[in-house]
């Protein structure tokens, strides 16, 4: 028995997880791909009907789909750029020695772990147009109140603010971890040469941090593009379809309209988009590393 087990040990230990992956991940993915060639509304009376590439054709001529693509890109890249710039800046601030450094790091951790749906609703209260604290503050300094989440033009920037609040800390944490591993010698020789603080920052710290920053950006990109909770909790894609990203539209198609085929087609395209961007980032990082 023991000998049998020892011989097949690596398969025995991995088998349960492999089975889980096959049943709960691989099968559903294949099923989604298959479903994207059918028309079905989850009714037992009308079985799925084969329609070939029809769902894809419909989707590509659907203005709401293209609007969702635009909303996804606008939201994701807006959030990603702000989070990267702020995240690196804040990491540099928190990396210095100051009173309460450890508790500062802990406080900074909280937005990331706080329940997103609950925090989305807190932001709805903060953004409340008539008596939310943001508009009260705007009015108290003599500015006009804004409609924030209720306005077609302001809704995406308002959502970006929520995402930046929630996820900038992640970029900072990763960059801070990177900062502690930087070598000391370049700084010592820079001091000998009499370099100013900003010169050290731009010519030593940031270039050395580049791989770390790129990793953080890549991890964030994978998640930001799929943002669901905070958008669904605050606007559910509204007003109208102004903040309807691909993930929200896919959800609406599947679970509000029960157009499972079209929703599946959207998810397949969405997955290809995420995969493509991820591979692009990996290549970008590899080629940058190859330069040196």
């Amino acid at each position: 028995m023991t000998a049998w087990l020892d011989k097949r040990f690596k398969w025995v230990v991995t088998m349960p997880a492999v089975l889980f992956v096959l049943v709960m991940m691989a099968f559903p993915i294949l099923y989604t791909v298959r479903l994207s060639f059918f028309e079905w509304s989850m009714s037992a009376a009308a079985p799925p009907k084969w329609t070939g590439l029809d769902n894809y054709a419909k989707l590509l001529s659907d203005t709401r789909f293209w609007h969702a693509v635009k909303a996804t890109v606008w939201f994701s890249f807006g959030a990603l750029i702000l989070e990267t710039v702020l995240g690196v800046a804040i990491a540099l601030l928190l990396h210095r020695n100051f009173k309460g450094k450890e508790s500062a790091k802990t406080i900074f951790l909280l937005p990331m772990v706080a329940t997103p749906v609950a925090m989305g609703l807190v932001w709805v209260l903060i953004y409340e147009p008539t008596n939310g604290i943001l508009n009260v503050m705007l009015q108290s300094i003599g500015l006009k109140p804004l409609n924030w989440l209720g306005s077609v033009n302001q809704v995406i920037p308002s959502l970006i603010v929520i995402d930046v609040w929630q996820w900038t800390p992640m970029i900072s944490l990763i960059v801070m971890a990177g900062l502690t591993t930087l070598p000391q010698e370049p700084y010592e020789s820079a001091d000998v040469d009499g370099a100013a603080g900003w010169q050290k920052l731009f010519y030593i710290t940031l270039p050395l941090l580049r791989p770390t920053i790129l990793t953080a950006v890549m991890l964030r990109l994978i998640d930001v593009i799929k943002t669901f909770d905070i958008i669904y909790a605050t606007t559910q894609g509204g007003p109208g379809t102004a903040s309807e990203t691909l993930n929200i539209y896919g959800y609406v198609l599947a679970f509000h309209y029960f157009q499972l085929g079209k929703a599946s087609a959207l998810l397949v395209l969405f997955f290809l988009l995420v995969l493509g961007l991820t591979l692009l980032m990996i290549c970008a990082r590899r080629s940058k590393e190859g330069d040196r």
């Binding site: 087990l5 020892d6 040990f9 690596k10 398969w11 025995v12 230990v13 991995t14 349960p16 997880a17 889980f20 992956v21 991940m25 559903p28 993915i29 099923y31 989604t32 479903l35 601030l93 100051f98 500062a104 406080i107 951790l109 909280l110 772990v113 706080a114 329940t115 997103p116 749906v117 609950a118 925090m119 609703l121 807190v122 932001w123 209260l125 903060i126 008596n131 009260v136 609040w165 900038t168 992640m170 944490l173 990763i174 971890a177 990793t215 994978i222 799929k226 669901f228 909770d229 909790a233 993930n247 599947a254 499972l260 929703a263 998810l267 397949v268 969405f270 997955f271 995420v274 990082r285």
Partner: protein, 272 residues
């Protein structure tokens, strides 16, 4: 020169504390509002100075049945974490020791693929099996959140353990399973804590799977909080109390186990 340095230091400190205030503000605001009446929430004069009330908390537990949803969330979070450990620990050990990298990459796909791609087939299958609105369906789906954490964190952890310890065990006549169970697992505490905490927190916070797969019987906290929006007039005080209740356990864990959480959140970033 010295003076300039001191001023710049002062400015940086002020900036640091300002940043911290801004980032903690939504949480502070949530807690403050949870002690306000509906009238106080809607009054610009009583933003920071008001007479606190505990009514909202009494309502959330009494009228809105939050104990039940809390229990549901707890069962699902702990159930899915235990199941993820059960599958993930041996798998991670196998991947780390025998360099089964392709399996590790497959698990990574769980992170890249949008959750709804799994949700449509699950919903169809769980409906056919009569498993919608059961803990089984929720725990299975939430394992998709927990298992990747367990596997990534533990692969890195097992790889960092010195091989000599295991070789010594093998010489003493332990089987491979014995080495894993009696030698490796007992010294893997930190890794197991990190991955369990991540799995519990992110299952507790998860919204999308439960919103579809749970109904009244197994509804978890995030859905109960979200449902506050469906009442005709939003009870803001109650909603903020509910939000405070759902976030408090997570925040407490984060405060106590800060080091583990930071390790978990940056897992994967280190290896790139």
């Amino acid at each position: 020169m010295k003076r300039r340095k001191r001023i710049s230091r002062f400015v940086q400190n002020v900036l640091t504390y300002l940043v911290l205030l801004i980032f903690s503000f939504p949480l502070i605001w949530m807690v403050l509002s949870s002690f306000k009446t509906q009238v106080q929430i809607q009054s610009a004069e009583q933003m920071f100075w008001f007479k606190p009330t505990g009514r909202n908390y009494a309502d959330v537990f009494g009228q809105y049945n939050f104990f039940k949803y809390m229990l549901n969330s707890l069962i699902v979070a702990i159930g899915s974490t235990l199941a993820s450990l059960l599958l993930g620990l041996p798998a991670a050990y196998g991947i780390a020791r025998y360099r089964l990298n392709s399996l590790g990459v497959t698990i990574l796909i769980a992170r890249i693929i949008p959750g709804i791609s799994f949700l449509i087939p699950w919903y169809i299958i769980f409906s056919m099996l009569g498993l919608v609105d059961t803990y089984t369906a929720l725990i299975l789906s939430h394992m998709l959140v927990g298992l990747p954490f367990v596997i990534w964190v533990m692969i890195a952890y097992f790889e960092s353990l010195p091989l000599e310890i295991e070789e010594a065990g093998a010489i003493d006549g332990c089987s491979k399973l014995g080495v894993f169970l009696r030698i490796v697992l007992p010294i893997s505490g930190p890794g197991i804590i990190t991955s369990s905490l991540m799995s519990v927190i992110f299952s507790w916070n998860h919204f999308m799977f439960s919103v579809i797969l749970a109904a009244e019987k197994t509804k978890t906290l995030p859905i109960a909080v979200f449902n506050f929006l469906s009442y005709s007039e939003v009870n803001w005080g109650g909603l903020m109390a509910a939000a405070t209740i759902i976030t408090t356990p997570v925040l407490v864990i984060a405060l106590i186990a800060q080091k583990f959480i930071i390790d978990g959140l940056s897992a994967g970033a280190v290896k790139g």
